[in-house]
Symmetry: C2
Amino acid sequence: MKIVILGGVAAGAKAAAKARRLLPDAQIDIYTDDTHVSYSSCGLPYYIAGNFEDYEMLLVRSPEAFEQSRIHVHLLNRAIKILPDSKQVLVYEMTDKQTFLVDYDKLIIAVGARPFIPTIPNINLKNIFTLRKIEDGIAIKEKALQSKHATIVGGGFIGLELLEAFIDQNLKVTLIEYSPFIMPMFDEDISILIKEQLISINDGRFEILTSELVSEFIGDECGVKIVKTASGRDIETDLVILATGAVPNVEIARDAGIAIGETGAIRVNEKMETNIPDIYACGDCVEEYFIMTGTKIWMPLGAVANKEGRCAAMNACGFEDIFAGVLGSAVARSMYLTMSMTGLTEKKAAMAGFNPVSSIVTKNDKVGYMPNVNNITLKIVADLDTGLLLGGQAIGVGDADKRINILASALVGKLTVEEFLKNDLTYAPPFSPTIDPLLNAAEILSSKIKALRIGKFAE
Amino acid sequence: MKIVILGGVAAGAKAAAKARRLLPDAQIDIYTDDTHVSYSSCGLPYYIAGNFEDYEMLLVRSPEAFEQSRIHVHLLNRAIKILPDSKQVLVYEMTDKQTFLVDYDKLIIAVGARPFIPTIPNINLKNIFTLRKIEDGIAIKEKALQSKHATIVGGGFIGLELLEAFIDQNLKVTLIEYSPFIMPMFDEDISILIKEQLISINDGRFEILTSELVSEFIGDECGVKIVKTASGRDIETDLVILATGAVPNVEIARDAGIAIGETGAIRVNEKMETNIPDIYACGDCVEEYFIMTGTKIWMPLGAVANKEGRCAAMNACGFEDIFAGVLGSAVARSMYLTMSMTGLTEKKAAMAGFNPVSSIVTKNDKVGYMPNVNNITLKIVADLDTGLLLGGQAIGVGDADKRINILASALVGKLTVEEFLKNDLTYAPPFSPTIDPLLNAAEILSSKIKALRIGKFAE
């Protein structure tokens, strides 16, 4: 049994390790165009921030450790064509510039995603970076340590995580977001709060520009010097990060006749099978089943990739396994502000055909007299017609993420707001107020639903 | 409408505030033998620890604030008899030593619990304390600040919270527990781990004696000096805490013909009604419906008391409300070790007639390269026959409580282990490992259940 895995960061590495445990005698090979395998790309912002010094801390499993499990890791080997009829992959060895064919019985595609690069004049200047791979992180940190000012283009998860990282490294930062809101995956009221809260803890070291576009980069052979914006700003800077999203690497799959889904990522079923026999796909290159709506969504996240890698290996190795899909749970931290969400936002709930109603509370995350008490703002969304909980968003320097995960379990259980109110959450002063903010929010939402149903509710 | 509330710490104070919001014109009176009303007794260990200086931080709402809402608070007024036929309460005014009758339309009994005092020679010596009321906390802190050694009798929640408090105040501490295990509400394997983990972070400042009894206190008019134990130890000490449990205050209710339940606490239905019309009870003096088993349990906890107070007020004021019961969720911290649980332990699941099976994992609470990463140990329990999740226990210096609350939602939703595995928990390096330890534990439990069902599982 020959198992060939293309890509080896999260899903690919997980698939390889799982396959080895399932089939001790299989031949397992990972081919990747990367310089490293099995690493935590989600940890790169914390490496750049200086939370730890050695980038090798990010390596989950070394090629040597894989080799000890008889998993052969071929770094700098780019798969350039899949030949489903002959069950082969054409691989280009990047160092020696050799091309060769590899046979497979089962193929697992885990080639990930790549940064989306916007079209901006002089975008190829030195010191304009994207962040995805280990060497990106190393290069950015090296440059950051010699810099005074960084410009981050894009106000999503990675942009905001890097804001904290650069501030931790004592740089000044300008963050530029083209939409009117940073973190636009949240509802607008929450996005506005995120910006307000970030600005409230700003001591002049960073600025956040929304509804702003980069019109041009200006620099010389030493690198970028100035970021010009559509509104006429000239921002002097030492380095630029393009955190403008990602696109799934689907070209090699499409070229082989593998179906691409409505989201633009590879289409797989719940066994991580593509439409071509014996070819599986997992991780950031595939789209996910969105449990909340029954539709497809592209969620290129580390936890999801790991689960999918595991599931792909199970099925490729002949064991039945199902990946149920995603709830859309995510969390990020910026300037020690936690931003977390699960399920549907109010906006997305309406788009999905629900009749959404929401409540927002701002409360202490623990009892007010405790040291390190902090605020969290929590918004939860339910369907007015059925009472079904649809999602939640929580932000704050306090323990916001805990509440979102409690809610995620309720979404799995398809609980209504009324049912959720039966929840018995732990209480002690270091952990929560007597009544958890999540139950406050649910209580308010329950009253609102009852009032709206009898036409008595007025905002 | 005259609403009379007996007791005003948590349930009573909450009931009063809620009743006022519901019925702006009702006459609302709180009678309590306490010196204070509406305070966080759960916060007393943190006051003693010096986490904050002013005990008034513990006061949620002052008598003056209640008065502004036209809720009349009668401190040091002990209710001594309820006369259901004439709908009156006989009250003893403790300062002036006057007795008088109070009329009620609706009576809410929220008289709480009191410490259980074991029978030990010389237990009335000075500097032997229990912890329940504000003045207990003030007296203990005052004595602790002049002391070098404290003895804590009882290794449950309060005993262990006070261990941290005294260590924070630089005392040496001996904790004595008569059973073989501290925190005996956990499964024995977890109780053993709690003791081991506490001992592992001990730098000689405290000792924990299990299977040990206090045989006698020795002292003089200045107070306790020596704690003698059954095994022959003479422990020199400056103060003693009796943290040997609590008993519900039911005497006044029983005397009035109010039914007492199988747990020894006042029996109420889901509307917090007693068996006598127009008399409600809530808080630490009543027993709870245990959702996990459908039986009764006594859970004298702050969050529960608050919910019950609210529910009692709703129904007393003529609005329908139901308190669904408890899952048995609880958390405490000792020496910065979090100990948290929800639902049934493996032992209690077996006693309740389930066929329990469990898994235990010890994992990082966040990604290993992050600062402040800590271990948590997580045990989850399910029913082998149905796969239903039954409960969980988590301990660790890390974020153990988060995982227990995620599980609590799953218990409300009556999820099986398989269903719970669909959960999509948030991931970013500061918040969890890529796959949350709770999902690891569920994965292992799922495999174990499958293997046991086909008879293939061997420990």
